[in-house]
């Protein structure tokens, strides 16, 4: 066994334990410094992921895989964790003596996500999934005194556990057919004719469990409530990193059941994607709370990204990774702006955005760039991300899906632009206090906005890097 395959995973796990110990040694008033250590650690991991992503290949009797897909997804997760950590350095003051644990839980969740990107075995997949979700549940309920936060945590733990049970029920039927938990063995057994109604039911249950994790319709009911109730940086983390982890798992898992079980599974995922796009975008329109609106918009985006999974090809995977990167910067930018604004105004209702442009041009600019990217307006990166993705779908022959996605993108324009219209409009009352934004949050906002524009104007280098990693490290 070559443990260097797990370089990044071991690094992240060690970081989590180190943060735990550091948090214990710091005196009560200084727990916030754990956040700085965490940011440095995540930055180190990010550099490490470029310099030494670990040797490629399967690990531990084929239960784990380190290849192009997992390296790229791990970089996305680390980037998400780093940005969320920087975003929350000031925010976590409200948690007082539990401040250190906030970052410990982020790091543990990161380990779980990495595991999801690498899992090629049902057991590894399940353990990684739970290692990701249990810290996320605690993070969601982190504001002990807030009823909204604890309620969101309760909903998350109940629905999360129920969805894992559904996933497991499906997996155990697949195990019954294949006699093994390994993806390779399951795929071989199903291709070899080991199919029956029970296996199909197993495949459908397993897909339902994973669709729940990426919040696709009709398994999306949890996400608006939880996004609204959770502390804002946690919402950003949920929207960005946990969703990406779900897609990493789907990208590996889908070919296992898709190829053998035939077109039925493709139809199913096309249906889920189409429903997510339509319902997500239409329900986002009447929302009055920005976090709920972004939650519904993230459901719609899950629909677009499911198309990339459905394509199930090299180019499709590359387009999906690019889209996830674009989506990460746009969402982190939007949520960082919401964090900064809600510190200022104490509200995350869209109506409170009136006069934002006057009060803080920086927050407004970042917000506008992020929303335009989510809507897919050039030169923001969302346009080029959608372009790459839809081209692959069209290649696959699903022209009607591309048409639907385009129509829905136009619909989404309506609610994104109406937020922009609110924030440039005049404030009803004329008080002008200067915005005080912490340095780290300012940096996160700038980085996301600049990256969004750069990814939109110059997609070549990044797309080249993604294709390169995918092809040189693919198994």
């Amino acid at each position: 066994m070559d443990f260097s395959t797990l370089t990044l995973e071991i690094g992240a796990a060690a970081l989590a334990l180190i943060l735990l110990v550091v948090g214990l040694f710091l005196p009560d008033g200084k727990k916030g410094q754990v956040g700085i250590v965490a940011a440095l650690g995540f930055a180190f991991l990010l550099v490490l992921s470029f310099l030494a992503p670990g040797s490629k290949g399967p690990f531990f009797m084929g239960q784990y895989m380190n290849d192009g897909i997992s390296v790229l997804f791990k970089q996305i997760f680390i980037l998400g964790s780093l940005l969320v950590t920087l975003m929350s350095l000031r925010f976590t003051r409200r948690f007082e003596d539990a401040r250190g644990e906030f970052y410990v839980l982020l790091a543990f969740s990161l380990v779980g996500m990495m595991g999801m990107a690498g899992a090629t075995d049902f057991l590894t997949l399940y353990i990684a999934l739970e290692l990701m979700s249990i810290p996320l549940v605690v993070l969601t309920a982190f504001e002990k005194g807030s009823m909204r936060s604890t309620e969101a945590g309760m909903k998350y733990v109940l629905l999360g556990a129920m969805s894992s049970a559904i996933l497991l029920f499906g997996l155990s039927f697949l195990y019954g057919a294949a006699g093994s938990f390994g993806y390779g063995a399951v795929m071989a057994a199903l291709t070899g004719g080991q199919t029956g109604p029970l296996v199909v039911i197993g495949g459908i249950f397993a897909l339902a469990g994973l669709a729940f994790k990426v919040a696709a319709v009709p398994f999306h009911m949890w996400s608006p409530d939880i996004y609204e109730g959770a502390p804002v940086p946690v919402t950003a983390f949920l929207a960005v990193a946990s969703k990406a982890a779900g897609f990493a798992a789907l990208l590996r898992f889908f070919p296992v059941v898709l190829v053998p079980l035939g077109l039925g599974m493709t139809t199913l995922i096309v249906l889920i994607a189409a429903l997510s796009m339509v319902l997500g975008n239409l329900t986002a329109i009447p929302q009055t709370n920005i976090k709920r609106m972004l939650a519904w918009s993230s459901i719609a985006h899950a629909g677009y990204m499911l198309l990339g999974v459905m394509v199930a090809s090299f180019a499709g995977a590359a387009a999906l990774v690019y889209y996830l990167l674009v989506y990460l910067f746009a969402n982190v930018g939007a949520f960082a702006a919401v964090t900064a604004w809600s510190e200022l105004s104490g509200s995350d209702e869209i109506s409170s955005f009136k006069g934002m442009w006057k009060k803080s041009p920086l927050i407004s600019t970042v917000f506008i760039v992020s929303l335009l990217s989510l809507a897919g307006i050039p030169p923001a990166a969302g346009f080029i991300g959608k372009f790459f993705l839809f081209v692959e779908v069209a290649h696959k022959g699903y022209l009607w899906l591309v048409a639907l996605a385009l129509v829905m993108s136009v619909v989404s324009l309506y609610y994104y632009v109406s937020v922009i219209k609110t924030l440039v409009s005049e404030a009803p009352e004329g008080e002008t206090s200067k915005a005080d934004i912490p340095l780290a949050l300012r940096a996160v906002m700038l980085v996301s906005a600049v990256s969004t524009v750069v990814l939109g104007v110059l997609p070549g280098p990044v797309m080249g890097y993604i294709r390169n990693i995918l092809s040189t490290l693919s198994s």
Partner: protein, 102 residues
Amino acid sequence: MGTITLDHYIYLASALFAVGVVGVLIRRNILIMMMGIELMLNAVNILLAATSAFNGDSAGQVFVFFIMLVAAAEIAVGLAIITMIYRNTGSIDVKDYSRLKG
């Protein structure tokens, strides 16, 4: 009387799973909802253990260990959240939680 085959275990596990799902969906007491989830997980455990025995492959039983462990961790977190909620609202009935509307 016939011998017990894998099919019987599949029926048993499916029935238990269905009872668990119904329990989560129609009961309004959080503790009972959690018991429903435990029931679902235990149905999976039965199915895995039976499949593993009939396939002559011990991996399924190892999986059961892991499920039991993760369920314990999940329930510990869930109960901690329930105590927090009880402190905030004084109730563990889901219909009293309407601050977040789906």
